[in-house]
């Protein structure tokens, strides 16, 4: 809640971490083949990490009040519900449409 000023140093480190993860995501997707949905899951895991870093540091959620964190989490949680239930339908359809 307090007006926390994020120093340049932290912002630089955040940028560094994001660039590193971008290189990682390209490298794993292009040169390591896990087969099946493996690459998809790995890429999504890296993307989620990156999104978490942006949300925590660039968007200051790490220093923010509880409510704004809850709002962000709510958005993500309901999105997960949306994906989850749609998949329950899709995975178990006996006759494809």
């Amino acid at each position: 809640m307090a007006h926390h000023i994020v120093p340049l140093n932290t912002n630089l480190k955040t940028l560094g971490a994001l660039v590193f993860l971008t290189v990682l995501t390209v490298g794993t997707a292009k040169y390591i083949h896990l087969g099946g949905a493996g690459n998809l899951i790995l890429a999504m895991a890296i993307a989620c990490t990156k999104a978490g870093i942006v949300l925590s540091w660039f968007m200051h959620l790490k220093y923010d009040g509880l409510m704004n964190r809850v709002i962000a989490l709510c958005g993500l949680a309901f999105l997960a519900l949306f994906i989850g239930f749609s998949y329950i339908d899709l995975f178990f359809r006996t006759t494809p449409i």
């Binding site: 309901f78 949306f82 239930f85 339908d89 006996t94 449409i97």
Partner: protein
């Protein structure tokens, strides 16, 4: 501004001062005018539909015309009347007053929200001159990707109106979090505010999905690509997932705030401390949460997997729990209270009885196997009218009669007010009870002709619709007349309410409170 001595209605003059106002009370009045107009138009279509069904043979409409009228009735009532009705009209007026704030958190966004509704409505109405739309308000694909051109317009109109809903919800959440008067803790909030809070959460989380759904449908039509069209590899069931992910929670956008009104009215007119304050408050949030995981019960027969159908069926039953908690608490509040049967209370009692029927028939339909039999029959039509009209709109009108003296400083004719409550109750049941019966016997919905065996039911239903319409028209006439010619009601607290809005002038001054009050206890502390 309060220093000018006037109230919020006469502190500034001229049409321009209204169209550019950022006062939440004036915006509420502008919603009042707009929504009443939409309600009359939507109601007119309903009457025409019922009239057409007076005889088994076509009376004065052909199938196309019937489908268009039906689509307009549904779209207008859902997107322009019931969804904005309680939150944007009564919520806008009462919320800041009830929590001791001078305005909502973002007054300009509040005004923008009104304009979104107007622009969206105009776009949707323009479709009438484009040949009309015959898809039903749900715009199901693949039919909606192929039928009349105007579909894209109506869909885009609904998209713009969605923004209105999102902005209102966003505004209310921040207002409730940040602008409460000193001492107004969350556990001291009036129950109407709790219900608006739960509603606002749904509006913010669910409406964007409607936005993207309608946008995709527009893209599909304008660009001529197949996102939901099976002929081009798309999945039409996906559209239904998208649509109902919003539109089922939207049902609760319509009903939860009406429940909040009922909590206020029942406590005030029973002159008794509300029974189970926390239970009612949290059941609103409970309904809001559950509303997001039940959307598949609209899709039992549309080809979704049996497993998903079963899960949705069970989860749907869960909605009954918080709803029943509310109903029992309201009845317990009335028990041994000094119940005054004034107009708002009569509407509240209408709500209790009609909504109970609507809720219970909802449980029948929630059962997967029973729904297969009843799907797309008049049973479903009757069910959701019991919830939407008998629930949401009865609550809405109860709230209008309840806050009218505060909004305008005028009093309506109490005797006639009671007559409207009675007329709507009788008319409603005469209209929709026959629909339950013929629905269970297999009368399908959305047809303009029917088998002769259903004639008695349809005739009764049509006659009931006239009584119902008479009641609502009389109610609107009563309020309009009272606004211009009614006797002044300068009393601050005509009903003996305990929430903060009853401590300010009727009508309130521009900034609501001359001095922001300090709250020391819960509302509804009667005895």
């Amino acid at each position: 501004m309060g220093a000018h001595g006037g109230n919020y209605i006469n502190c500034e003059k001229g049409l321009w001062s209204w169209l550019t106002t950022i006062d939440h009370k004036r915006i509420a009045l502008m919603y009042f005018i707009a929504i009443m107009f939409f309600f009359l138009v939507g109601g007119l279509f309903a009457i025409l539909l019922r009239l057409e069904l007076f005889t088994p043979e076509p009376l004065f409409m052909d199938g196309d015309m019937y489908n268009r009228a039906m689509t307009l009735h549904g779209s207008i009532m859902v997107f322009m009347v019931i969804i904005p009705g309680v939150p944007a009209l009564l919520g806008n007026f009462a919320l800041p007053l009830m929590i001791g704030a001078k305005d909502v958190a973002f007054p300009k966004i509040n005004l923008a929200s009104w304009y979104c509704l107007m622009i969206g409505a105009i776009i949707a109405f323009l479709s009438l001159f484009w040949g009309g739309v015959d898809t039903g308000w749900t715009f199901y694909t693949p039919y909606s990707s192929k039928s009349a051109d105007a579909v894209a317009m109506v869909v885009f109109g609904a998209f713009v109106m969605g923004f209105s809903s999102i902005l209102t919800g966003l505004n209310f959440i921040v207002t409730i979090h940040k602008l409460r008067a000193p001492g107004m803790t969350m556990m001291r909030l009036p129950l109407f505010v709790w219900s608006l809070y739960a509603t606002a959460i749904i509006q913010v989380i669910a409406t964007p999905v409607l936005g993207i759904t309608l946008l995709l449908l527009t893209v599909e039509r304008v660009f001529g690509v197949g996102i939901f069209d099976p002929a081009m590899g798309g999945d039409p069931v996906l559209f239904q997932h998208f649509f109902w992910f919003y539109s089922h929670p939207a049902v609760y956008i319509m009903i939860i705030p009406a429940m909040g009104i009922i909590s206020e009215i029942i406590a005030t007119f029973s002159q008794k401390t509300i029974f189970g304050y926390k239970a009612i408050a949290f059941s609103s949030l409970g309904i809001a949460a559950v509303s997001f995981i039940v959307w598949g019960h609209h899709m039992f027969v549309s080809g979704q997997s049996v497993l998903a159908g079963s899960i949705f069926s069970v989860l749907t039953m869960l909605v009954g729990v918080p709803t029943a908690i509310k109903l029992f608490n309201w009845v317990a509040t009335m028990y041994k209270g000094r119940v005054k049967l004034d107009t708002p209370m009569l509407y509240a009692i209408n709500f209790l009885s009609l909504f109970t029927i609507g809720g219970l028939t909802g449980l029948f339909l929630a059962a997967f196997n029973i729904d297969v039999h009843l799907h797309d029959t008049y049973f479903v039509v009757a069910h959701f009218h019991y919830v939407m009209l008998g629930g949401a709109l009865m609550g809405f009108f109860g709230g209008l009669f309840y806050w009218f003296p505060k909004m305008t400083g005028k009093m309506y004719n109490e005797m006639l007010g009671r007559v409207t409550a009675l007329m709507t109750f009788v008319g409603f049941n005469v209209t929709f009870i026959p629909q339950f019966i013929m629905g269970s016997q297999g009368m399908p919905r959305r047809y303009h002709t029917y088998d002769g065996v259903f004639t008695p039911y349809h005739v009764t239903s049509t006659i009931g619709s006239w009584i119902l319409a008479g009641g609502f028209i009389l109610a609107i006439y009563l309020l309009t007349r009272a606004f211009f010619k009614g006797e002044a009601c300068t009393e601050k607290n005509p009903w003996g309410g305990t929430t903060l809005e009853w401590t300010v002038d009727s009508p309130p001054i521009h900034e609501n409170f001359t001095e922001i009050p300090t709250v020391t206890g819960r509302p509804y502390e009667y005895r």
